[in-house]
Amino acid sequence: MTMLKEGRPTAPAPVEDAHMAPATATGNRALMLEEKLIFEIGSTETTGVDFAQAPLTGSRLGNLARTDVIGLPGLSEQETVRHYTRLSRQNYAIDLGLFPLGSCTMKHNPRLNEKVARMPGFADIHPLQPQSTVQGALGVINELAFWLIELTGMHGVAMTPKAGAHGELCGLLCIRAALEARGDARSVVLVPESAHGTNPATAAFCGYKVEDIPATPEGRVDLEALKARLGPDVAAVMITNPNTCGLFERDMKTISDAVHAAGAFVYCDGANFNAIVGRVRPGDLGVDAMHINLHKTFSTPHGGGGPGSGPVVLSEALAPFGPLPYTARMADGTIHLIEEENVGEEMPRSFGRMSAFHGQMGMFTRALAYILSHGADGLRQVAEDAVLNANYILRSLDDVLDAPFGQSGPCMHEALFSDKGLAEGFTTLDIAKGLIDEGFHPMTMYFPLVVHGAMLVEPTETESKAALDQFILALRSLAERAKAGDDALKGAPYHAPRRRLDETLAARKPVLTWTDPGMV
């Protein structure tokens, strides 16, 4: 061993003992620091914020002054920064690596968008300021609305829905309002089994009965079965296109024509719009309403569970029924926000308001910056690269993993595999947890429900070929281990902040808030 004069070793002894890394006294592992709950480290007397002395006045709290101990621990600023920085390091994120969660479109979140959203002119304005003082903000809404309409070839757009599922609700309410306006009460919404859970949940949430549409063996809507089911009780058909098996619904226009002929409407779940943006306009396929997840296709960050934004583009038949409020450009160039009291010409028969204020402004600024950055040419390239990356993954792995619809033609933006062919007792979950050890976020697992042990891989266009190759290497190795019955895989992950977590225990005895152990 090489030593300095003082006897300090300058080169490590060769390591063959990594598997017997000793436990540490703290439970920490170098840069991986265990972090307690704020309730365990903070106190109700500590604060990280200083305030000016309040002027002395009487109290006008209606004899309702709060006198109990609330139980909110505080931390100094330094401790707060450390607490959340440590916690952040227990998260996987796009900023760390490929996040191929199918159906979720985890693409890079450009930092210009964060900067723009924080400009005081956008971040520090109140939704109820007089309209003369927020013309720029109304301009953002109007400009984004224009782009969304052009990109989809639709007639109008409802900007206020707060996420995809809220957009679905908006679309179905438009459909119901349109049907009621013609005195046509219909009670059923048809939804494919492969649809995202929000589709049937939304239909039920606004009072519809949900029925399944069967799929063909090649993974698309069964046109004949659908036609046979259409009738005077069907209000709408909800179709995801590209669908959740990663395939384009070839018969979309025929489906739309049949649905319209039966007096019903076509709702398209646009969560997968990234695959076709700039190349295909849903308006050309006969769609009546489609939500767009700005937090997917248009790159607004997912934030560990939101916020999102789900504008809904609408056909000519549905546009008049869209929600309040909305913007309209006047002849003199000013932009009006049309609220309850001044319902304008564009949506004279609006079904009403579906949330307070005017939508997810903070997402609009980001999405608009994203769209302007790409432009018409860049957005088309987005779809092409997203589809190319997915097909590259599909064809790189379909020799080791079962691709149930691999014979159905090219996939769109996501590649779907199943657990067929894995050794007895090995599951999609094992492969997913193995990916964690390999340094990747797992793909979407067990969705769509129509494929056994589904693994839905969506790389997005913002991954380089080198990143894809690395991912393919990892997934190939895991597939081989699962087929060979490598038992070690069942223990994965080994290297994550936690081993597999007991979800059954969590649900059987729910502990949803912290209780001071001294109090129980």
């Binding site: 994120a93 959203a117 720029g136 997912h302 560990g304 950055s373 090219p410 969590a506």
Partner: protein, 452 residues
């Protein structure tokens, strides 16, 4: 294009690996008539970061931001000072660019935050449990009405006239389609709330009474008698809080007997942002937990026995239960919940009480000063940081004129209740710690001039 890493060589190599001769081969399933031959006409091509920033800055400059003017708006969205470390922490990529924590082994950061958030919210609102967030206060309010219907199997909700009119509108929109019956009328300009009238209106069909606290006119009233009356009739009390800072000064709705407490969490940690994204809070009594909408984070252990957190009780949710789910919500307001939780941790109980005390004291000062202006009467006997002034003329016009003079005076009742012109002279004024004595004086002078 700066966000797209593939080179043309990569694209060629990959196409050839797949066995496709061109990218069009990958779009063969799109019917020919729906395939656009080139880029969408009428739209500009890509732009540099600098050009986009310039364009957006130009739009931003066309707004009068709150920091540039004496500012007194509230009515469901409040301007509080947000410590610099809040924004710094929520911009850490590990929080900002993560998805919903579906893989708990590599999402303990988000999950522990949610567990802490749920505990903070439950304690602040005085409830047993809280969920991991909803879209905003207005949608959380409708979800509470639906939950009360599930719990009581009754379909008539009584909405207090003190409930935020946008929340009322959302409920009315949804009720048109679900068939729920809603009883509501616009507020009148009284110092007392409508609690007595609500108590009188409860009957055997009532699923819940929905009451805002402090209410849209800023009034605060003890909810205990209302909770007792509702529960005696087999109905639930739903309390709505749009300014959670208030709960550092006044009693929590849960402690007064509310069964479900929902709210808008924006005022802690989340900026005004022209109305969104905001943060729906949802809390209730333990016995109703399986009827709750939205995601819940729970404590558990991992295979080596270490404490960890997971999303739980998901058999209530759309991805498992589909059309039988308690709600259709999926993506919620995760990052806003983080901002709320960080801000609340910085404040702690002491900071929250100081903040609430400062808000109330400044609001008292402002109310006294403004009530001295000829043509102005103060409506409220009680309030926290927001109160209603009755002006000698239409408040909507006054607000517009003052805005032209660079003073953002408050929210007129004409804007909030366009169908109730009889209360059009009301002006709702919010006073937070961001308001200075000079701002109050400027507003008083401007009102004096305008009402002279």
């Amino acid at each position: 294009m700066r966000y797209l890493p593939l080179t043309d060589t990569d694209r060629r190599d990959m196409l050839s690996f797949i066995g496709a001769s061109s990218i069009d081969d990958l779009f063969v399933d799109v019917p020919a008539q729906a395939r656009l031959p080139g880029t969408i006409p009428g739209l500009p091509d890509h732009a540099s970061e600098m050009a986009v920033e310039r364009h957006m800055a130009r739009l931003a400059k066309r707004n009068l931001s709150a920091g540039e003017a004496p500012f007194f708006l509230g009515a469901g969205a409040y301007r509080h000072h947000i410590p610099a470390s809040v924004d710094h922490l929520i911009q850490r990529g590990e929080f900002l660019t993560a998805y919903t924590p579906y893989q708990p082994e590599i999402a303990q950061g988000t999950l522990q935050v949610l567990f802490e958030f749920q505990t903070q919210v439950a304690r602040l609102l005085g409830c047993d449990v809280a969920n991991a967030s909803m879209y905003d206060g207005s949608t959380a309010c409708w979800e509470a009405i639906v939950m009360a219907r599930r719990v009581t199997k009754r379909g008539k909700a009584l909405l207090s006239s003190g409930l935020h009119p946008h929340y009322v509108s959302v409920a009315q929109t949804m009720a048109k389609f679900t068939g729920d019956a809603l009883a509501y009328r616009a507020p009148t300009l009284d110092a007392a709330t409508d609690i007595d009238a609500l108590i009188g209106a409860i009957d055997k069909d009532t699923s819940c009474v929905v009451v805002q606290y402090p209410d849209i006119l800023g009034r605060v009233a003890d909810l205990t008698p209302l909770a007792e009356a509702a529960q005696a009739a087999g109905a639930l009390l739903v309390a709505v809080v749009t300014e959670p800072v208030a709960l550092g000064a006044i009693r929590a709705p849960g402690s007064m007997g509310a069964d479900i407490v929902v709210g808008e969490g924006q005022s802690i940690g989340v900026g005004l942002q022209f109305g969104g994204p905001y943060l729906g809070l949802f809390a209730c009594k333990q016995k109703y937990v399986r009827q709750m909408p939205g995601r819940l984070c729970g404590e558990t252990v991992d295979a080596s026995g270490k404490r960890g957190f997971v999303l739980t009780l998901s058999t209530r949710e759309q991805h498992i239960r589909r059309e039988k789910a308690t709600s259709n919500i999926c993506t919620n307001s995760g990052l806003c919940a983080l901002a709320f939780s960080v801000h609340m941790t910085l404040l702690g109980e002491k900071g929250l009480r100081d903040l609430a005390g400062l808000n109330h004291a400044l609001a008292c000062q402002a109310a006294d000063r403004l009530a001295q202006v000829p043509g102005v009467t103060l409506l409220n006997d009680s309030f926290f940081n927001e109160f209603t002034l009755i002006l000698s003329k239409d408040a909507r016009d006054v607000v517009r004129t003052l805005a032209d003079k660079g003073v953002l005076a408050g929210v007129s009742l004409g804007r909030l209740f366009p169908a109730a012109p009889e209360i059009g002279n009301g002006l709702v004024v919010a006073v937070t710690e961001t308001v200075t004595p000079e701002d109050i004086e400027t507003l008083a002078k401007a009102l004096e001039e305008e009402l002279a």
